[in-house]
Symmetry: C2
């Protein structure tokens, strides 16, 4: 992974102030979050074909399906019960708990609404290999990197509410399949993500004690934006332009 | 990873004959090896711009640089000294030994010949994130999967001599930078790859004892073709069409 070389004002030993550190994290989002990707402009502006929406939903399901595995891997490295108790919520949000059916189920409702068979989506058969490589890199990252970086990589949630709002209004405005039920996933995340990220942001701002650690946090956020971006690049290449679908991946119209 | 469902004739318990098993492995190459990718058609046909050749050399260097790490990870899982002795050659081929400067050094000679600074290439700074994700997936695969599958994933070498021959003649015919010195990497691989793969093929054909193991070998080769293909998809998307270079990656003309 690329090492960060921040050029922000820094105090003794190069340590960034709490505010400067937070600004450096937020700057990654302003420059590299996937809200800036051309695919999202197409999607939210109503310019995606039905097949392109299907391909997006199908591939993004792979990401959704791996998030609880990622969080479980993180949980398995947290020695502090308080920290585990806080972090466990993320797994419950995705897998469900009590009357909450969970984010994965909500995503499957969306998948069915765009005409994909639930069993096909669950089989993961048509997922782009590049989607798997990018998402699996996230799991390996939280397994292998220092705990601070592993936790920091979820900080892209800082930038999520804005893209979710754009998506909700864009989907409702432009696509017939969109209604309160089918896009419930995004509405729910509007509530969940800010709760999660408030904790995470405070954790990294308080835990990073050296400039090197601060830089490693910023680099972890950058790594995460890279893997979100790479998923959309792969989708664009396969299903928008030039439309080269790699061998074995979802071919619109051919899937069950 | 996708599970294989071969439809080849099979004996008792579905076990493929030795020849049928080898054919199933070779079939993966015929259908999915990256010799079929549009980027290679452009490259070998002389249709790549100088910048596109640079981007290819730069990104492919990341793959080259990780191969010895991949083989070392494999070596660390082989409990049989005979097997380690055989496999060690692959690390020597890439890292060099005695008077042999090694494949990585030969690739750096190629990189300099296409106008890239050696230190820039070695820094890995401009490598596409998607290249990293695909290549790193290879390292994680050989660390995590059963030894048989980890070994089998190198079987794409079966298909390499043909692409190397196409590449050598295509580069020599169409590009000014190409001569015996600058493309020494490929000439050397013409000799090394068949030696390596003869051993590997015999190993998997002899070691897989059930249909499930045979299928896992075929799936491992398919996984490997996927990650080779994904690297070229990313290159095409960023540098050919539509030419969307992701944030932070090599921008032709801007690199040192």
């Amino acid at each position: 992974m690329e090492t960060s070389a921040s050029v922000l004002p820094a105090g003794q030993n190069g340590l960034m102030s709490r505010q400067g550190f937070e600004d450096a994290i937020r700057q990654v989002g302003a420059e590299r979050y996937h809200s800036l990707h051309p695919f999202h402009k197409l999607l939210h502006g109503g310019h995606c074909t039905h097949s392109q929406v299907q391909a997006w939903v199908l591939n993004r399901f792979y990401y959704q399906s791996r998030i609880p595995l990622k969080d479980a891997a993180l949980l398995s490295r947290m020695e502090d019960p308080e920290l585990r108790r806080e972090w466990r919520k993320r797994i419950e949000d995705h897998d469900g708990s009590g009357k909450n059916e969970g984010g994965i189920e909500r995503w499957l409702v969306l998948a069915e609404a765009v005409g994909l068979e639930r069993t096909y989506v669950l089989s993961l058969a048509g997922v782009l290999p590049a989607t798997r490589f990018a998402v699996d890199a996230y799991i390996h990252f939280v397994r292998e990197r220092p705990l601070l970086e592993a936790i920091a990589s979820s900080l892209t949630e800082l930038f999520a509410p804005k893209i979710h709002e754009e998506r909700i209004s864009g989907l409702l405005e432009h696509y017939d399949f969109a209604n309160d039920t089918t896009i419930a996933y995004f509405k729910r995340r509007l509530k969940e993500a800010p709760e999660d990220v408030a904790f995470t942001l405070d954790y990294v701002l308080s835990t990073a004690e050296t400039r090197k650690e601060q830089d490693s946090v910023v680099a972890a956020v950058r790594f995460k934006t890279d893997l979100l971006w790479a998923q959309l690049d792969a989708l664009y290449h396969a299903y928008v332009a030039p439309g080269h679908i790699p061998p074995g991946a979802f071919v619109p119209g051919e899937a069950p």
